[in-house]
Assembly symmetry: D2
Homo-oligomer: 334 residues x 4
Amino acid sequence: METIRAGIYGASGYAGQNLVEILVDHPNVDLVFGTSNTYAGQFIEGTDLRYIPSDEVNLDHVDAVFLALPHKTAATIGKQAVDAGKRVVDLSADMRFDDAEEYEKWYDIKHPHPDMLTSAPYGLPEIHRDDIAGAEIVGVPGCYPTATLLGLYPLLRVEGVSLEAPIIVDAKSGVSGAGRSATDTTHFVNIYGDIIPYKAGRSHRHVGEIEQEINRFMPTENQIIFTPHLVPIDRGLMASIYVTLNYSITSDKVHSLYLNVYADEPLVKVLPLGQQATFKGVQRKNTAEISITPVGDHFVHITSTIDNLRKGAASQAVQCFNLMYGFTETEALL
Amino acid sequence: METIRAGIYGASGYAGQNLVEILVDHPNVDLVFGTSNTYAGQFIEGTDLRYIPSDEVNLDHVDAVFLALPHKTAATIGKQAVDAGKRVVDLSADMRFDDAEEYEKWYDIKHPHPDMLTSAPYGLPEIHRDDIAGAEIVGVPGCYPTATLLGLYPLLRVEGVSLEAPIIVDAKSGVSGAGRSATDTTHFVNIYGDIIPYKAGRSHRHVGEIEQEINRFMPTENQIIFTPHLVPIDRGLMASIYVTLNYSITSDKVHSLYLNVYADEPLVKVLPLGQQATFKGVQRKNTAEISITPVGDHFVHITSTIDNLRKGAASQAVQCFNLMYGFTETEALL
Amino acid sequence: METIRAGIYGASGYAGQNLVEILVDHPNVDLVFGTSNTYAGQFIEGTDLRYIPSDEVNLDHVDAVFLALPHKTAATIGKQAVDAGKRVVDLSADMRFDDAEEYEKWYDIKHPHPDMLTSAPYGLPEIHRDDIAGAEIVGVPGCYPTATLLGLYPLLRVEGVSLEAPIIVDAKSGVSGAGRSATDTTHFVNIYGDIIPYKAGRSHRHVGEIEQEINRFMPTENQIIFTPHLVPIDRGLMASIYVTLNYSITSDKVHSLYLNVYADEPLVKVLPLGQQATFKGVQRKNTAEISITPVGDHFVHITSTIDNLRKGAASQAVQCFNLMYGFTETEALL
Amino acid sequence: METIRAGIYGASGYAGQNLVEILVDHPNVDLVFGTSNTYAGQFIEGTDLRYIPSDEVNLDHVDAVFLALPHKTAATIGKQAVDAGKRVVDLSADMRFDDAEEYEKWYDIKHPHPDMLTSAPYGLPEIHRDDIAGAEIVGVPGCYPTATLLGLYPLLRVEGVSLEAPIIVDAKSGVSGAGRSATDTTHFVNIYGDIIPYKAGRSHRHVGEIEQEINRFMPTENQIIFTPHLVPIDRGLMASIYVTLNYSITSDKVHSLYLNVYADEPLVKVLPLGQQATFKGVQRKNTAEISITPVGDHFVHITSTIDNLRKGAASQAVQCFNLMYGFTETEALL
């Protein structure tokens, strides 16, 4: 059995911790290192390893690296790894865009290595499985784009979304989505008992990559309205998607469409009509759940839920990794 | 100083409890009774009264009654009170519709006293103040319609909402909105850590009255998409409203419009641009808070928040009561 | 490989649900039925079975039954099962007492089958392993006694607890401990944001069996002070135990004692000195965690935590079952 | 009517915010400044003032200062204020000890101004009312000592506590007790769903002042066992106190004793026998609630609850202030 020696950059953050949890049980992975500048020297829970500072990594000892790093840093480290002949599973935004200009528009910095973008597919296996298979670099999308795009994909595929009305995404995220660092945002007293909208409208950075992906299926411009909300729960994420249909499909056909499109997807579950996707259905799981509510003839309300740290981060990265190396796609995930 | 002798039917439910809290401090009110069939005989907290069963009420002792009762029961009791010459502040749905047919469509029963509907204004003072002033009966709207309609009203007044796109309302309600009765829905374990959509699309009864009110300003049919969500918080309510504008107004004018329309409203606060309305801003308060986010030229995201038991129930009822009797509108509320 | 055909009475309650979760993965178990009078006809999640009413059980089809039933009902059904030659794992209080009088004192009813008590060991494997091995009937203790007794056991074994001072147990339980039924106690609004002491002092029924077990090691009478508290968390349980030592042991020896006694226990983990046991360490796990804080020379504060539905109910029942049949004790539990 | 010009040092922390809330409604107070080095320049909510850095305070403009500052800093600033002839209400630990050595033992630093200790009474009005009246400096106790001492005081007064058994205090605190700073401790994800014991046994600094106060009534040494727990609630505090009585009082007399001792105390409420004090009874209130559970003849379990930011900090400080100036003790508090 083939064993891949893998390392995790940023192993102490929430995504990194979930990567560790999954990879230690992966039969084809030998976890060689986990970096953390903050926790260097401490044990990595569930392993015999200790966190090392990122500048102490010796890439000779690994075949592949996972990057659970801030954007920009990820590209820099990813470049080194690629140059050293290693495969890269990047959980940051750095490898997600086709186009460096688009990246620069949303992230307000020059892309450190725009050349890398061409070879890196967008790591959403349900849409880009063939491109991810065998790839050397993958840019894994995070929680909001994953939930949103999985919720829209079957309709996009049949070109059923009206171009004339906005696509509304009212998203709700557990607090772990704000990261492990202690900030005013993550202070218990500030979020306890509250629901907090932020970066409303089109100001959240994830709008860029969501539109990039939608544009593969239909010409869209400024059509996505996306408002995330922080909710007083530790983990879980819901994208509540409100879609006007065009005349190619009526709402009563949408549920069947979703059942068909996702019939063979091991990590996406379409709920029976009348049942609604919730946080509880997906917390601590690697699967997405989607519910469909037809409204009148030409409108659907779609609820798409994931665990933000799993299908919205770590487990999706491992799903991509499995595809890159030709392992069973759900290895260590089911 | 004039004193009104008032009684509360359904005084042990959450709305009833909040009515008691407010009315005991109202300088013009003498609280004479509170009914509760379940808690009959027990003290009403904050008073020297004990709950009495509703069939032991002697209407001779009061001038006005508040009905915090289930629909249908409310109309029956309200009818008796009106026939006895008492004023009625009804917190149920029974007096909210102009039209008995519309009521019957949404509530699936014959209206017990359709004649009463003609004289009962819709008890949202910010829109119907003049009709409420001096009225004998008022049908006070509940939490979802109040938050939604306050969030839409200024745009409706200027006929700024497009007829061509749906009006999306993604609503989030604290668990007290589900009532004081112990049910699977209100079981702690069932809602802890979860966000639960329910009656999605157009199946919630409140869609009917929301459309009735919108129709006073613009012809709308099946345009409202309304999905409420239960959230793991005790009280508070948010209506996240997504509106496409027509060409009579651009999005950059909307915030000023709201500031103007609500400038003299003591119980509605429009937040500065860039600030978002949250649960915390309104919990245990009698005020609504509204934030405006322009998106592109022709779209706005509006967040409208209230305490579901206050401006969404009890305090709005008292606001109506104050108008009915000519007291200062915010008496006991500020 | 031996396969035991097993059925669960009371399979829809929280303990029952956890039994199902564990048993469906047990290599030696064929789950044959799950009863639920309330949910009869509905699917049992995670299985192909549907709940059946308890009076439709055919005991011929099983070798063993788990009773996740109210006390008294459990004894009645358990008696039938034993008479039919089946083994019984009883999660109620009915088989826990040595002595029917003691049972009657705490439960205020005549024991339906006092004869069964003599053959049923107390199902806490860490203390009664030898008696449970091969037993036909076991009375599995619930969450409070399990956490308390595991927390005290090593000290009891060395007779280190002073007879002169009370043993204080301040316990904290997640809301699932109050059961799946919707009651005022389990209403979200009633427990959200609150900590609620109940049955304080010596009025909780579990005091009886805790004392029975302590009395095996030392003569104690009315020495246990036990106050449980409901906390706004779904699952988990903490017994905070405050113990005065006698002169046979000093507090600095207690941690080593616990490490030694539990060294080979697969389901009890003694934390390093200085680290405190918490809810998070045990939620959704089958293990108990215990922390020791020496205070002065003659006093220790012990924190003992479990998942109330696992080591405090379902997983302990399966641990007993494994011992009864001679399977690996932790089969399906690690 | 006399008006005292007051300033608050540390006005942006939770205690400081609550001081602002109370003082802006105090008829005898003119709030002149609030300091905050972190938020300097921003508006102080509920006022027309802006936070100023502490080194921009001009003491000439005030008659009294409240110190919601870390220990040591408080003494330094307090000394300046006293030297300038101002009265000082200190919410830190710096003025609470009679004896600088005791302070140094618990706080591990030399007391900056030990001379100030002699003139500063311990600011728990229910015990030290006469000394606080007219005082120039008061050292106001915080949440744990307040709840614990109010819970013990009536028994201490009659010398009813046994010297032979430990006094156990199992305390539970809302997260605001950990302060407004974002730290790992206050990160939502770290405390959500958890109960966390910390500084168990006798290692918490508040043990020192609790013992100092107990020693006024009985000779005690190392008798207090005090373990605080962080609970996933924003505010509120419970001290669960377990007391062995000596032979001067039996447990059945304790409830009457408490009723008598606190009969005229406006800010302490003794609950009826059988009712338990909870977080909800005191949240956002200025009162303490105490419940008594007799256990056997010689033991009582006492539950003492307060809002940690009110009677455990800000409102107690104002209560002391009122006594210092001869105002009605509950001015602005009821």
